[in-house]
């Protein structure tokens, strides 16, 4: 069968122009490139980078949410402070009326935050208090390491007192005293239970 798009004479002339081949060095170079393994790490590395970023952002959001929740949880306890306590520094949370049901607390507490010192300042204060030997839950420590510069979840007063008690029990009296003094400064109206007072008070 003849191909209408082919002409034997044209083909013969064309072939007579020569049958050039690429230089052997070029062949060698291309074949060597073909044998080189693909950069298999490129895809996994980019996937890992995306995962780390996503986990970091998620953890940060969760921590910030938890931070907000802890601040809310803290309010009723602070409100138990004696009404007669000196009003040295304005503490907006103390002004909040009787403890509402937990569900109703959140919006109120969030509104109250506007009057508080900047969250960053409070967190820095709390961080300054954190001594080197502070027993931090392993999970939280690893989270902090994983996401790098991240805001630490604020300690509740009970956790702080527990830490002071542990310092006291570990014989670190000076550190316990300093931490207790800082606690008093931070929560001047906090009423210690007798049991806790026995554990944290200087011996």
């Amino acid at each position: 069968m003849t191909d209408p798009d082919r002409d034997a004479r044209v083909s013969a002339h064309y072939r007579a122009l020569g049958r050039e081949e690429p230089p052997a060095a070029l062949d060698a170079e291309i074949l060597a490139a073909a044998r080189r393994p693909r950069a298999r790490w490129a895809v996994p590395v980019s996937v890992a980078a995306v995962v780390v970023l996503a986990v970091g952002v998620t953890l940060r959001l969760q921590l910030e949410e938890r931070s907000g929740a802890e601040q809310v949880a803290l309010s009723p306890r602070v409100m138990q402070a004696p009404a007669a306590a000196p009003e040295a520094a304005p503490q907006p949370r103390r002004d909040v009326a009787p403890a509402p049901a937990p569900a109703a607390v959140a919006p109120m507490a969030r509104e109250g935050q506007a009057q508080e010192p900047p969250a960053g300042a409070r967190k820095r204060e709390a961080l300054a208090e954190a001594s080197a030997d502070r027993a931090e839950p392993a999970g939280r420590a690893s989270v902090s390491m994983a996401v790098g510069k991240i805001t630490r979840t604020p300690e509740t007063p009970e956790q702080w007192l527990e830490r002071i008690a542990q310092l006291r029990e570990a014989g670190k009296g000076r550190e316990a005293d300093e931490s207790l003094a800082a606690f008093r400064k931070r929560y001047p109206d906090y009423k210690l239970s007798d049991a806790m007072r026995a554990r944290v008070a200087p011996r």
């Binding site: 798009d5 082919r6 002409d7 004479r9 044209v10 083909s11 013969a12 002339h13 064309y14 072939r15 007579a16 122009l17 020569g18 049958r19 050039e20 081949e21 690429p22 230089p23 070029l26 062949d27 170079e29 291309i30 074949l31 490139a33 073909a34 044998r35 693909r38």
Partner: protein, 170 residues
């Protein structure tokens, strides 16, 4: 190509051996400058190697290869601003004495033929070279150059007519 994509380097070597001559001549006859042709030829194969993961069995390997080649040449022409090379710049290598076609055509006739090939519009020359060197069908030429079949067919036919005209005095 699928075997090569799956890591069989030997499969690439077989493909390369089969296609290297036709592809090299396709590029060489398109740009007519050996240094540039070698550079483009190497770049085309590098693109094939890099794109191996994207190769699917939707087209014949040769169609895929010449699509890559066509695109690379199109970039080349774009950068060069479609500069027309004068006919007298074309050189014809002395035909090998033992080839019957060469003896039949004669050096003068071959030079006219080569000049006519060089003078073809780029699209017609590409269509002719793809047809002649790679053995692609008109439909495959259309796929490789991104045009419809009618356009590819008319390019091949126009090219053949002009080349025949250059041979009429032989």
């Amino acid at each position: 190509m699928l075997a090569y994509r799956e890591g069989d380097a030997g499969a690439f070597e077989a493909l390369y051996t089969r296609h290297k001559g036709p592809l090299y001549r396709f590029v060489l006859r398109s740009v007519r400058e050996r240094g540039t042709a070698e550079e483009l030829y190497q770049e085309i194969w590098m693109r094939v190697i890099e794109a191996r993961g994207r190769y699917t069995f939707q087209a014949k390997f040769s169609t895929w290869l010449y699509t890559i080649a066509h695109n690379r040449l199109a970039d080349h022409w774009r950068k060069r601003g479609l500069k027309v090379v004068p006919l007298e710049d074309h050189e014809v290598a002395a035909p090998p004495a033992d080839e019957p076609e060469a003896r039949a055509a004669g050096r003068q006739g071959l030079q006219r033929f080569a000049a006519a090939l060089a003078a073809l519009p780029e699209a017609q020359r590409a269509a002719f070279l793809l047809h002649e060197e790679s053995g692609l069908s008109v439909a495959e030429i259309a796929a490789a150059t991104g045009v419809n079949e009618e356009t590819a067919k008319s390019r091949v036919r126009y090219a053949l007519a002009k080349l025949r005209g250059a041979m009429s005095d032989d």
